[in-house]
Symmetry: D2
Subunit: 286 residues, 4 copies
C-alpha cells in the first residue's frame, strides 16, 4: 500500500471575519494490483502528486466544515473514482489555531497556536464495506500533584519500588473513539456540545474541590473511558493510552534537609505507558 | 566555561490548594582558573553534580516565587560562595502548567500543559559588575490571515517574487527584554499587571475589529517593540525575532479552478527570520 | 496492556579490549487480569520498576551476545516467571557504536557513533504459542542520482505530474524480516556472514558500474525483498517500507538559465511512502 | 538583520560517475538602513526569495567545489552586488552522503547517508573588513569506556559526587576553527590530507593499544585543541565544546548482585557541557 501526507491551510470569510483551518491529511491507499511491485507496470498507480491535487481540490470545493466531514469526502472520492482502490483510510489532524481575543473581544483575523491537545479523526473504508468514522485527541499533557498512589502490586525478588499513596500522576494522553458506521452526525456538535474533551479532563481530575483518588494509571484510563461512554452516546468504542512521566522526590538527606514531596525530578527512563480499549456491549455483540 | 542543565518540579501547598512550578534551569559558570584545561588540575572545578544540588537546595529552601527571583538567588549564591567564579549566568524557563477549571471553578490539584508561549528569564553577573535581569517569551506562534503585504522591495535580475498586498503573516515569535540592573521589581506584577504578553499580541494583531496593516515582518517586529517600551516602563531594551512561515496560494489553473487565497500550502524552505533590538535612548546614553 | 522502555549500556572486557553494547529495550506485557483497570486492584500488576530491574539483571547475568538472544532471554523470563502474563513482546534496538581505528589499528576502548542504519529485533510470544523472532534495520537513508523514473501511471483530470525517466530516487528504508519460530540460529552470523545489509544495498543500487533502472519506488521495494529472500534462507517473510524524499529540478528559466538536473530542491510535502510484505510460499501454506 | 535558510542538492557528472553535494545554506544579512523597521519602507530590503535565487544560481554556475569556496562565493556576491549590505555571514553545512561500495568497488551513482560528524563552514565579512573563513565539525558522538576519571575537584557542603578514577567518558563534540583572513587555501586538501577529523579522534582516544588517561572533560577538550593546532598550521584559533553524557553504574545491591561497571544507565539530567577557545599567540597579538 501507499501513504501520502500533505499539510495546508483552508481560509474562508464570513462577513468581515476570517475562518482558518490548517490541517495535515494522510491518505492510505491499497490497490487491487500487485503488478507495480512485481513487474514495474505503473498503469494502475495513482501518483502521490494526484492524491495531493485531489485533497486540495476537495478542500477548495467543499471547504472543511469539520475535519470528520472532510475525511469522509476524501474517502468517498477515492472509492467512487478509482475502481482499482480496495481500501482507503484518511487521517486528518488539525493545527490548533485559536482566535485571539483583546479584552474579551474576538479578533477578526488574528490567531494564536494553542496546542492543549490536538484534535484528529479517521475515516476508513474497504470496498463493499461500511464507512467507519473515528475521532480523537492526542498530545494532552496532564498532571495531578496529589490524590494518586500505587500500592498492593505484585512483588518478587526483583521488586525494589516502594508502595506510595501520595505520588504525582503525570502523563500524555491519547484517546481515540469510534462512532461506528457513518451516520449523519453533527461532529462539531458532539465535540463542542457533548464536551468530550471536558469529559476526559473531568474524569482525569475528579471534582475541583477535592479530586478523586487514583490507585493506578490503569484505573485512571478506565475512569476516562467509562465517563466518555456514559456521557456521549454516539461513541461505540474508546481506546486510551497514557504515557506516564514519573517524578522522583529528591533525597536530600546527604544535604542535611528533609524533602516531603516539595522538590521532584522527572525520570526520563524507564518510562512506561498503559493502554486499554473499551467498547459498549451491544457494539461487540453486533 | 561550563554549562549545566537541570529540570525539576517545585510543589507547595497553600491551604488545600497545590501550587506547581516545573522549571528548566541552565547555569553557566566561568572560572578564574585555566589549570583544569591545561594541567588537568581539578581543584577549583565545581562539579555538575554540585551545581545541581545547589539549584535543588535553593528551590527547596526559598521556593520559586517568580522565575526571575529564583534566577537572582542562584546567581547571588554562586558569586558569594565561590571566589573562583568570575561570571555566572542563570537561565530559567517554565513549563506552562495551567490550573484546570471545571465550569469556571479552578481545580485544587490538577493541571494541563498549555504551551502558548514559554516564559523565561536570565540573571547575569560578572564579578564586581552589576546583576542584570532579562525576561522573555518564546515559542509564541501567531498568524494574521490578512492585512499583511510586502511591496516596494529592492529588485534586480535575481528577483522573482511578485509584490503582494494581501498575504498571510505567520511566524514564531521570540522576545527578550532587559530590566537593566537588578532593582526590587515585582516581576509577576510586571508580567501579569502590565500585561507584556497582551502588549505583544495587541501590537501583532492590531484592533480586534479591523487589525492594522503590516507592510513587512520587519515593521511588525518594530511595532511590537515600540508598544512594549511605551507600555512597560521597566523595560530598558527589547530584542525581538520573528521566524517566518511563508504560505503559497496553490495555483489551480491546471486543475480548472480559481483559488483566491482560499487554499494555501506552507513553504518549508527557504524560511527566513528577522531580528531587531531596540533600546531606550537614556539607556544607551547611560 | 503496558509498555516500558529502558536504555542502558552493557560493557565487558576480553583481555585488554572493551566491548560495548548500548541498547534500548521496550517490553510490552498483556496480563490475564482486568481488575487493575476495573477495580484498581493492583495485585497482579508488575510495576515498570520491576520490569526495568529484570532487564538490567538479565543483561548483567547473561550479557548481550546478540540483541536477538537478549530479546529471547527477556521473553522467556517473563513467560516462565509470571503466570499472569498472557503475551510478551520485547523490542531491542542497538545504538550504532563502532570501534575507532587509527591507521587501520582498532582502538581497545574508544568508539564512535555511526548511524548508517539502526539494527533492531523483536521476540514475541503468546502463552502456549511459539516464540517468534524478527529482526530488521531502520533509518537507512539511500539515494540514487539517476537510473530511476516513473512513467505510465494512471491519469485523470487531477493528474498534473509529468512522466519522468530520469529522476532522483531517495528515501529512508525500513526492513523487518521474520525468522519464524525460534530455532538455534546464530543471529550475528546471519547478520554479518549472509550480509543482509549488503543484500539490501545491492538490490537498491544495482551493479556498481552501471546500476539498475528503477521504474518506481514499488519495484525497488520488491527487488530488495526478492534479493533478501533468495540470499538468506532463514528469512521467512520480509516487510519493507520506503519513505520517499522527492527532489524537484529548480526551474531557472525566469533567471535566464537552463538547469538539467543539476540543482534540485527537496520537497517536504507531499511526502509519500510505499510498503509491502513478501513471504515464502511454504511459509504461507504452513 | 535577516536570516534565510535553503536546502538543496547539486549534482554533476564526470564521465559516467555522478558527484553529489546536498547542502543547507544559511545567509545572514545586515543592511545600512533602518527604514524598513521604522517606516515600513522596503526599498532596500532584499527578499528571502531573491537570496534563495542567488544561492541557487551560484550553485548552478560555479558548482560547489568545496563548501568553503561556495560560502566565499556567496559572501563576495552579496558584498559586491548590494551596496546596502554592511555585513554578510554565510553558513554552509553538508549532508554526509557517502558513495556506496560493493566489495570495495565504488558505485557510480548510489549513495548512503553516513552521519558520523557533520562538516560545516562559515564565511563572514563586514564592509571594508577582511573575509574570514571558519570550518568545523559537529554532531560527532564519541565514547571512551575506560581511561577517564574525575578527582580532586572543589568540595563543600553541597558536594555529593564521589571521586572516580574509572568512569565512562561520552559526549557529542562540536569543533570550529578559523583559518583567519581568506587566503587561497585548498580546503579539501586541509580537510582530507591534514586529516583534521583524524586529529580530533586521535586526541580524544589516545594510542589504539593503550589510550590516554583523561582527568576531566576539560582536559580532553584542551588536548583536542592542542593536537589540531600542532598538526594543522592553517588553523589560527579553535573553539571546542563537549556536551557530556553521564553514565551511572547501576546499584544492584538490593537485587543481590555486584556490578562493577558492567551495566550502566545514561543520566538525562543534569547534563553539562564544557567549552573552550584556544588561539595561537601570534594570532592574538596580530
Amino acid at each position: 500500500y501507499g501513504k501520502n501526507t500533505i499539510k495546508f491551510l483552508r481560509l474562508h470569510k464570513e462577513g468581515k471575519k476570517d475562518f482558518v483551518k490548517e490541517v495535515e491529511v494522510c491518505t492510505h491507499l491499497r490497490l487491487t494490483s500487485a503488478q507495480e511491485y512485481l513487474d514495474g507496470n505503473n498503469s494502475l498507480v495513482i501518483p502521490t502528486d494526484t492524491i495531493k491535487n485531489i485533497v486540495l481540490v476537495l478542500a477548495k470545493k467543499n471547504g472543511i466544515p469539520t475535519i470528520e466531514q472532510f475525511a469522509i469526502d476524501i474517502c468517498k472520492h477515492f472509492m467512487t473514482t478509482f475502481c482499482q482502490v480496495v481500501y482507503v483510510k484518511t487521517y486528518v489532524q488539525e493545527v490548533p489555531w485559536q482566535r485571539l481575543q483583546e479584552n474579551g473581544v474576538p479578533h477578526i483575523h488574528s490567531f494564536i497556536c494553542a496546542p492543549e491537545g490536538i484534535r484528529f479523526c479517521e475515516a476508513e473504508q474497504c470496498r463493499n464495506g461500511p464507512l467507519v468514522i473515528s475521532a480523537g485527541i492526542k498530545d494532552l499533557k496532564l498532571m495531578k500533584t496529589t490524590m494518586s498512589g500505587f500500592e498492593g502490586f505484585y512483588k518478587n525478588e526483583h521488586t525494589t519500588l516502594p508502595e506510595r499513596h501520595d505520588r504525582i500522576l503525570c502523563g500524555e494522553l491519547f484517546c481515540k473513539w469510534s462512532y461506528g458506521e457513518h451516520k449523519d452526525f453533527d461532529f462539531d456538535c458532539i465535540w463542542y456540545m457533548n464536551k468530550i474533551r471536558e469529559c476526559i479532563l473531568e474524569a482525569f481530575a475528579g471534582p475541583p474541590d477535592c479530586g478523586e483518588y487514583s490507585p493506578s494509571y490503569q484505573k485512571t484510563v478506565n475512569s476516562i473511558q467509562m465517563h466518555v461512554l456514559s456521557k456521549v452516546s454516539q461513541v461505540q468504542i474508546i481506546e486510551t493510552m497514557l504515557n506516564n512521566t514519573f517524578y522522583n522526590v529528591v533525597d536530600m538527606k546527604n544535604l542535611g534537609l528533609t524533602n516531603e514531596k516539595e522538590v521532584l525530578v522527572p525520570v526520563e527512563t524507564p518510562y512506561g505507558s498503559c493502554a486499554c480499549t473499551l467498547a459498549r456491549k451491544k457494539f461487540l455483540e453486533a
